[in-house]
Symmetry: C2
Subunit: 389 residues, 2 copies
């Protein structure tokens, strides 16, 4: 039976050995914040790495004692009896380098200056993250993961794992992802970055010293992102053209509205939703991290080193794959997942593919469509048998 | 044979009679900038009104003597021998109220204060524009248009004409349009407006007094818009993931690049394209006008007064319709045009519908796909026969 994973505690791991990065520079010592669920078995064969997407973190499942209402970002997927069952698997979440939830990133103090890295933090890539995650695996004594799994940008990391460390990955679960961004994907990222870079409070990335954050730019960036996470159909069902129903009056009362306000204030419910999402995000997310992670997305293109040939990039992989897409995801549409599947089949790699007819757009990978969850559950059952978990 | 319409000259028309607006207020006197092509025949039966979309104007066709390189926005459609043939039709373009190309709008001086209207300019709607355009028709002595035609927001005006002044519209050409915005359409507008409204140079809409314009916000707004005008496929063909090929060096030379720069500067060609479009737009377009016109788009919903029933809204129309959509237009997708067609057919109104399989997304309505242009040409041939043009 499914149950919640309960109270969890993150840990910070320090890595003293310098990390060579794809941009040619080297990161001296760094910290990674990590969370684990379940127990590593004696054979160390039941470990699963869960990679996070743009705005998420190491906090995959469970709750913190000081915030018992907020669960980890994939709590519906990871826990006792859940599709990725922590009664059988040892699950690791790692906050990626450059993120803003404890791991070393632009907000961290640069030991050479004693000031936050800010704009000087290196532009890390998916491949850099994978190398950093491999050291976490080393620290846990995990030679080979039963599975590496992720959705969206997390799926890119899983794919990169299978290419960079083929011998260390048993299964690779790539969900709602793509082998590389399209021009339109890059365009959305570019507009989001432009909003941040042109915010006068950005100060070239060194806003920490000015005691401000580029809140306006971050807010617009997040609003743009949110449009691409939802399907047109889902937005229509959720909000339609409904006017925001009640308007708060000065005395605290509210009045139901019917007609237009003829103003630029919130008029339609979808506006209220986007503004709320934007405001909330600007409260907790670091703008330099947003820039950096969207660029890592842009740059991801494992076929690039193989003359643009994804088949060749995946030729030497040894993992078995599960690739999942969602019919209404227009950010990373099913056709993009099918590119991965095709490239794997070119070399007769073992791959299962499912296209889930869920209405929720890209966000579907975070939701609980039963067909999707049952599929992942069945897939992990098979892995459990293989690895004796 | 097709030829260019040559040098044209806009004219400004003053209207002294106050215009009641949909928001309940009244606009005192106002000016409209207008351009005409061809000759009104003696029967005054050959007039065609061409309505413009967000960023266009009265300058539909031809060139100005002081800028002979730049043609009007629909110059490929309107001219001697062109689909809308100015040898046969008298064509009128009107810059809409609230726009920034000569007609009274937020940049204009409010006669009651002697200062620019700025934020106090009323939020005019599609229906307000149609009422103002009707007075232009009156001034030309045109009782009935052979056709009212427009693409996108211009198509909404054509549709509104057929509903508000059924006896004055012979044919209604609604191209790449929609009976109302979807939640996603509104969401994109809202993000664009948020970028402008939160620009510190916006000053609540009264930036003229501060000698600045909210350039950063306008730039981001236009970049967002541009993504929705192009299809994903078209962007992929135009830009793919190509790196900006050459980088200018300090000495004026250029160097071909192959690898990533690992920075937030322009890296991919699509970024260069968007930045260029954004920068150019911010040079010439007024931010208050952008806000106002996107809101007019949001508010357009002729079915709203009929309990949301578009069929009822169109029941009493008498025009014949040509509705055209483009297969790859995801801003106003073919399904939206089919809603219009269906509502017209509910009342056995005469409507021709074509879905053009062009790759260019929403922008296709401004381009010269031969199937599209031949269709419009044939349609106007029929109109010419009817009205003796």
């Amino acid at each position: 039976m499914e149950s919640s994973i309960g109270i969890v505690t993150p840990q910070s791991m320090h890595f003293a050995e310098p990390l060579p990065l794809q941009n040619g520079s080297t990161l001296a010592g760094y910290d990674l914040t990590v969370e684990t669920y379940g127990e590593l078995n004696a054979a160390r064969s039941n470990a699963v790495l869960v990679c996070h997407a743009l705005n998420a973190s190491h906090h995959v499942a469970g709750r913190y004692s000081d915030d018992p209402k907020t669960a980890g970002w994939w709590d519906n997927m990871v826990g006792p009896g859940k599709p990725l069952d922590t009664n059988r698997f040892f699950v690791i979440g790692v906050n990626n380098l450059g993120s803003c939830f404890g791991s070393t990133g632009p907000m961290s103090l640069d030991p050479t200056t004693g000031k936050p890295y800010g704009a000087s933090f290196p532009l890390v890539t998916v491949e850099d993250w994978v190398n950093a995650q491999a050291r976490v695996a080393d620290a846990f004594g995990i030679e080979r993961f039963a599975a590496v799994m992720g959705g969206s940008l997390g799926g890119m990391q899983a794919m990169a794992w299978s290419i960079m460390y083929p011998e260390r990955v048993g299964h690779c679960l790539v969900i709602a992802s793509t082998p590389k961004l399209s021009a339109q994907n890059i365009a959305f990222n570019e507009v989001a970055r432009s909003a941040i870079l042109s915010d006068p409070d950005f100060h070239g990335g060194d806003y920490y010293a000015h005691g401000v954050v580029p809140r306006r730019g971050l807010r617009v960036a997040r609003m743009i992102g949110h449009i691409t996470y939802l399907s047109d159909e889902d937005m229509a069902v959720k909000f339609g053209r409904s006017l925001q129903r009640a308007e708060a009056l000065a005395d605290g009362a509210a009045v139901e509205r019917d007609g237009y306000k003829f103003s630029f204030d919130v008029e339609f419910e979808v506006e209220s939703y986007l503004r709320y999402q934007g405001d909330k995000f600007a409260e907790y997310f670091d703008a330099n991290t947003y820039l950096l992670i969207t660029r890592a997305l842009d740059y991801f293109d494992p076929a690039r080193a193989y003359g643009g040939d994804l088949s060749r990039a995946l030729a030497h992989t040894t993992a078995k794959y599960l690739v999942v897409s969602f019919a209404t995801d227009w950010r990373f549409a099913p056709a993009r997942s099918r590119e991965i599947v095709k490239a794997l089949l070119d070399h007769r790699h073992q791959v299962s593919y499912a296209e889930i007819d869920a209405p929720h757009g890209h966000d579907a990978f975070l939701l609980t469509d039963p067909r999707y969850h049952n599929l992942v559950r069945a897939y992990y059952d098979r892995i459990a048998t293989e690895v004796g978990a």
